[in-house]
Symmetry: C2
Subunit: 465 residues, 2 copies
């Protein structure tokens, strides 16, 4: 491979809980995920990932519980299907202290976080990590979450995105527009910490949000954290095209993934951005070892601990369909008000979508593509995914943790490096600069950059429109 090949970006995909995506593997004797409540588990993981030059640790999150399957949480509790689940943001400072370069992609559900305080949370983390945080923007979809938060029901899908657009506008005003560059002097002799004329009050009177106040934090290295998003609906894509810098997708095959990647780049283009301004990551599971035979043995061993039924219960919550009510070969029917309604519409179209099929796809307890093979085979596969679909990188799941990451680092990373497809050292600077090599802040072409002018009385794109 020529050295000029596109380098593959890599996040570890994880969650502050026992079971994440490949369900049932918490029962594997070498799996450490039951230690998720301890600091050592996370700092050990962060150091391991930094040894492997991972770009980031991507932490999923869910508010609410998976209570659709069997109309309850029995299996959810038994197999710890993302329940219990602790707050991901509170892990960061410990891991940041144990590393120098690793980024942190943090999922937070904007529907339940007040913008004024959430802006402070992310700015605080951006300071403490010296600019290594990203925000995976989600709006939530679980009815159980809405009820837990004291609301009668979940807000309609597209309406959630309208609300998200406005939420981001408030964030940009706070992160980009409240404190000018150069506001903070830290001048002891002049007794001037910050210059009054350069700190501005944000006044936002919107449909969903009202804010009348100064951002509580001085500008952090990135100001706006790197913006991740994972929406795949038409409305979600429009949101991604406008705001996202990284998009995370669940691919099933290369043809569909190619279309997804194109749709994301088109959405960026339609929002007036460079289509390559968005980095696209796909979730993937990898089982590897020194040889193909060893990898296959390991795969067989993992399968003995996996719980395809737990995967089914997770999927029931994602689709909003109680899959426990179906016979193995009974076609699953479209039901309105599904969490991923448009996807379910497609899947049910041919009357051949059944629990048996889902269970087969869930052999490892989850539904991400799984690569099993020698380092060369895995590297070949990853390379072909990138070359054929236009992907920029992967979110690597844990099957047995931290073994899945360690195996990848010890076996696959050197192979990718030898092909010129993976960095051999970290770039300096913030997460944004490491990913895009274009500075620490949002680029001028991003909508968020417009809000830098807003509170200085200059015309912004929003106001000119």
């Amino acid at each position: 491979m020529p050295a000029s090949s596109k380098q593959i970006l890599l996040n570890a995909f994880n969650m502050n809980c026992v079971g994440h995506i490949n369900h049932g593997l918490w029962t594997h004797p070498r799996d450490r995920s039951t230690e998720y409540k301890t600091l050592d588990y996370w700092t050990d993981l962060a150091k391991l990932l930094e040894r492997g030059l991972f770009d980031g640790l991507f932490l999923a999150d869910i508010v609410g519980v998976y209570d659709v399957y069997g109309d309850g949480i029995d299996l959810t509790l038994k197999e710890s299907i993302q329940l219990p689940v602790n707050d991901p943001l509170l892990l960061v400072s410990a891991m940041a202290g144990a590393t120098r370069h690793l980024g942190f992609g943090l999922t937070a559900n904007l529907s339940y976080e007040t913008p004024y305080l959430f802006a402070r949370r992310m700015s605080t983390l951006d300071h403490l990590t010296r600019g290594r945080v990203g925000w995976n923007i989600v709006t939530g979809y679980l009815e159980s979450a809405a009820r837990a938060m004291g609301r009668p029901n979940q807000v309609d899908h597209d309406r959630r995105y309208d609300q998200a657009d406005e939420y981001l506008e408030v964030m940009y005003k706070l992160w980009e527009g409240s404190w000018e560059d150069g506001a903070v002097m830290e001048d002891r002799g002049q007794r001037l910490y910050a210059q009054p004329g350069k700190v501005h009050k944000v006044r936002h009177q919107g449909e969903f949000y009202q804010v009348d106040g100064y951002h509580l934090c001085e500008p952090s290295p990135q100001r706006t954290p790197v913006l991740f998003q994972a929406g795949s609906s038409a409305r979600g894509l429009r949101f991604a095209g406008r705001h996202a810098e990284c998009v995370f997708i669940s691919g099933q095959n290369k043809a569909a993934t190619t279309r997804q990647v194109e749709a994301i780049r088109n959405a960026a283009r339609e929002a007036g951005r460079d289509p390559n301004a968005i980095k696209v990551f796909m979730g993937i599971s990898v089982i590897t070892a020194a040889t193909e035979a060893e990898a296959r043995d390991k795969h067989a061993e993992y399968l003995r601990y996996a719980s395809p039924e737990a995967g089914l219960a997770h999927y029931a919550a994602s689709t909003g369909i109680d899959l426990s009510r179906y016979e193995l070969d009974e076609p699953i029917r479209y039901e309105k008000n599904n969490a991923i309604e448009s996807a379910v519409k497609t899947l049910t179209r041919n009357n051949d979508w059944t629990v048996r099929r889902i269970l087969q796809e869930n052999a490892l307890g989850g539904r991400y593509p799984a690569l099993v093979g020698s380092p060369v085979q895995v590297a070949d596969a990853l390379q072909s995914w990138v070359e054929e679909t236009g992907l920029d990188g992967f979110n690597l799941t844990r099957i047995v943790t931290p073994e899945s990451y360690a195996d990848f680092i010890d076996h696959v990373i050197p192979e990718l490096q030898s092909r010129g497809l993976y960095k051999t050292e970290y770039a300096e600077g913030t997460l944004r600069n490491k990913l895009f090599d274009a500075g620490d802040r949002l680029p001028a072409s991003h909508v968020g950059a417009d809000y830098r002018a807003l509170t200085r009385g200059l015309p912004a794109r929003e106001q000119q429109a």
Copy 2:
């Protein structure tokens, strides 16, 4: 002194910002508080405090800005009067990783935190610290905070406490009542992480809050964090009597402090608790050195950097009175809608409360009692405060940080230890066990313990009433 004397409890009083209580000292050449944005600043501090066997690091917080003085934030920005201010909770995991015993008293304003997610935040921290967190319950008082949060104005004082009572009820249900002891099995062989019959849904339909969901976290070492509170009004005292395990007061002299301590113990008694079930801490500043002369020199040096006017601006926000509008000797008038209305009523009663008096009290940039002297002199003073007022301990401010803490540790702690007034090693266990020597969980006599029965269908005190 006999070895059976009451041991003095000690927290370091600090905040995730530049200027905290003794304003202006950030300009002192040895002050490190401008490094508040960095991890090393906090992990160095935590290790220092643990060397001094401090019970805890008490982190204040404020949402909103001090904009009463001069009707703006000019001086607030210049002297960094708690602005900028970063989120305190996000510091904890890094400091917990750097220490083994130090507790963390975390201020969080319940008016702006949704109970369901805030319960998860504290449970997450209690897990990660292995039971070393406390929650300083505040309801906020700043109009600027209400506006920043999109509300027309601040809720009335007593009404905020009604809301706080209900908030605590929701917290107890989530922390104490949702997951039974023994619910978590972590049994790999049986594929049983948690037992379905032992995890209960919290159903709360109150005046202020509605929750219908399972607590997202499995039980943490303390379940309910140690509950700190600092209200001094009649309604605040009633709240403290019911809920608080530690109360933080600002004393001015021993006579008034004795009355405050008695009022707190009476409030506990009236709530049916042991009057000594509440530990009372008073804020105090200490300047010490090997000799009295050196301590006095240091005091004189500190005064050159202090900003009594910044202290005045802070106090203007606390009282809701724009003190910049007063001549030095003009009696300050009572104004309605003050943040600490009842205190202001008292202070203005004799028509002799003036800006000149406040500035004199603010010589060190803040209004806490300041002890200046040799280790023996400071120990004598602390001992007499405890013996004469019934206090349990102190929240030690920073003047120059971390120097103020280091001086105290190097000079005063050994003197207190030699008198049998301070521990010579940490007790084992959680923060609650260290403070009360009676286990990790809320005692059975605390109202929160009643909610253990609630979701198991047993009669709770609330329901019997």
